[in-house]
């Protein structure tokens, strides 16, 4: 099982919420820009891979017990969105990879992470 730290390393990701512990294990990965689908289908403690950068992503992730948000294509949310994630103790990792590449890299090293 991968840790969030290992996921960050696999994706050459930048942690936008410094100070939040990344030694937590990551059991599942869920990739979607539809927050409706996240609320309906994501397993607790999953990593959410998305291209959306609104505060709703942070709130959705928090309410659905997501363990970390991975933002694709090098996206960076507004500082107030990052602040909200920090307050909620939710790590945000930004990576230059596309959503497909994120899923492919994690899947190669952690084949059982999808659902």
């Amino acid at each position: 099982m991968l840790t969030l730290k290992e996921v960050q390393s696999l994706l050459s990701g930048e942690l936008l919420t410094p100070g939040i512990n990344l030694e937590k294990e990551c059991s599942k990965v869920f990739a979607s820009d539809m927050m409706s689908d996240v609320l309906a289908f994501i397993d607790p403690e999953s990593v959410l891979v998305t291209g959306l950068i609104t505060s709703h992503v942070v709130r959705t992730a928090c309410l659905a017990d997501v363990s970390a948000i991975i933002l694709v294509q090098g996206k960076r949310p507004e500082p107030m969105v990052v602040d909200e994630a920090r307050v909620r103790n939710l790590p945000i990792i930004s990576t230059a990879c596309s959503m497909f590449e994120v899923c492919a890299r994690i899947s190669r090293s952690h084949p059982e992470a999808g659902r």
């Binding site: 820009d33 539809m34 927050m35 409706s36 689908d37 996240v38 609320l39 309906a40 607790p44 998305t50 959306l52 609104t54 505060s55 709703h56 992503v57 709130r59 959705t60 928090c62 309410l63 659905a64 017990d65 909620r88």
Partner: protein, 146 residues
């Protein structure tokens, strides 16, 4: 009748996308502080958020009542909105009347009401066109679905 151990009301303003989800985040924190089991907290949070988003997306305003007893969490949402013409159709997965703005935020996939029902042990919906919609959701805290 079981004695209510906690009760709180939340006002929800229609169209207020900036604050969307804040009430549900507060509810989640309250339930955690009350010592409700994590899986029940998660289901209640999802139910609350879906219902809150429905008010924000479709109604002028609404009120969410949270009540907690020793054996259940109940969330009742009353909105002053347009009402739902065909409730059965609105309950089917994938059916949505969302605008492009809502979809840009990642909502409006037609999963809201079915997901509320899925996460509730008891779900009731009453809607009157031109008047509004009332959703009543109960989640039992003993881990058994009715």
């Amino acid at each position: 009748m079981t004695e209510i151990s906690f009760q709180q009301e939340f006002e929800i303003k229609g169209g207020d996308f900036v604050r969307a989800g804040e009430a549900s985040c507060e509810i989640k924190n309250l339930l955690k502080e009350l010592g409700v089991a994590m899986q029940v907290v998660r289901r209640a949070a999802i139910v609350s958020y879906e219902a809150e988003m429905n008010v924000i997306m479709y109604a002028g305003s609404g009120r969410l009542d949270l009540s907690v007893t020793s054996d259940r969490v109940q969330i009742v949402v009353d909105d002053r909105g347009p009402g739902i013409e065909d409730v059965e159709l609105a309950m089917s997965e994938g059916y949505s009347t969302a605008t492009p703005e809502m979809r840009e935020l990642g909502f409006g996939a037609g999963m809201g009401l079915p997901n509320i029902k899925r996460n509730s042990d008891i779900f009731k919906i009453h809607s009157k066109v031109g008047r509004g919609t009332r959703l009543e959701m109960t989640i039992r805290t003993n881990g058994h679905r009715l």
